[in-house]
């Protein structure tokens, strides 16, 4: 198993990540997820989204999730790239990609990583709208999705 883990201001070359995920000779399936800033949230136009994190903890948590995914499924490669800083509507926030021999493991692992990242990795979003700034609340459906893997 090989993996790439990054938390950074910049986005990444998605085509290059997909090429890397798929280049192993045993890979038959690549699943990836991209999350991006929506233009509207809670009926307001979003002007900007600022992501803060707890650097010392973030990589620790994400590495732990990668290890758990490796133990649960026969994976070949994993990429997690998460942005921090101020983003605009339409900007990508997170890339999670997984390769495996078959699609079931790749789908499960990609979703597991996203569900757990959403509830365990120390990132926080603050939205700027015409009404001002607000910190986003955690969604209970995200807690439910994360708990479904336990």
């Amino acid at each position: 198993m090989a993996n790439r883990l990054n938390v950074a201001h910049h986005w990444l070359d998605v085509a290059e990540q997909l090429a890397w995920l798929s280049e192993d000779s045993a890979a038959g399936a690549v699943v990836n997820f991209i999350g991006q800033v929506r233009r509207q949230n809670l009926d307001d136009d979003v002007a900007a989204l600022t992501l803060e994190h707890y650097p010392a903890m973030t990589k620790h948590v994400l590495n732990g999730l990668i290890e758990q995914a490796e133990q649960r499924w026969p994976l070949i490669r994993i990429v997690i790239h998460h942005r921090v800083g101020t983003l605009r509507p339409g900007d990508p926030i997170v890339f999670v990609g997984v390769s495996s021999a078959h699609r079931d493991a790749a789908f499960d692992a990609a979703r597991f990583l996203m569900d757990k990242l959403k509830t365990q990795a120390p990132f926080w979003k603050k939205e700027t709208t015409s009404d001002g700034e607000r910190w986003l609340d955690a969604r209970s459906c995200d807690e439910d999705a994360a708990a479904s893997w336990d």
Partner: protein
């Protein structure tokens, strides 16, 4: 004396990135929370709304966890990345 790191809405509500806390160690996380909540209403509010998470040495821990001398302790709201 120990320091507690604050993040996101808690950092803004308290107005500081780090809180210096005068508490005898070791102590349970629950006692630490109560100690800080007594001085910072926004921490008390977050705690009563179950919107306060505590990490010790970069791991989220429960109320029973024992905080030792030299631990890195952080308080923050539920996470919203991804």
């Amino acid at each position: 004396m120990m320091n507690v790191l604050l993040f996101a809405s808690l950092r803004e509500a308290v107005g500081q990135e780090t809180l210096a806390v005068d508490i005898a160690l070791p102590c349970r996380v629950e006692a630490l929370k109560q100690h800080i909540a007594d001085q910072h209403p926004s921490i008390a509010t977050a705690q009563s709304n179950q919107a306060l998470l505590v990490a010790v040495n970069q791991m989220i821990v429960g109320n029973e966890h024992q905080v030792e001398e030299g631990d890195e302790v952080a308080f923050f709201p539920p996470v919203t990345g991804g």
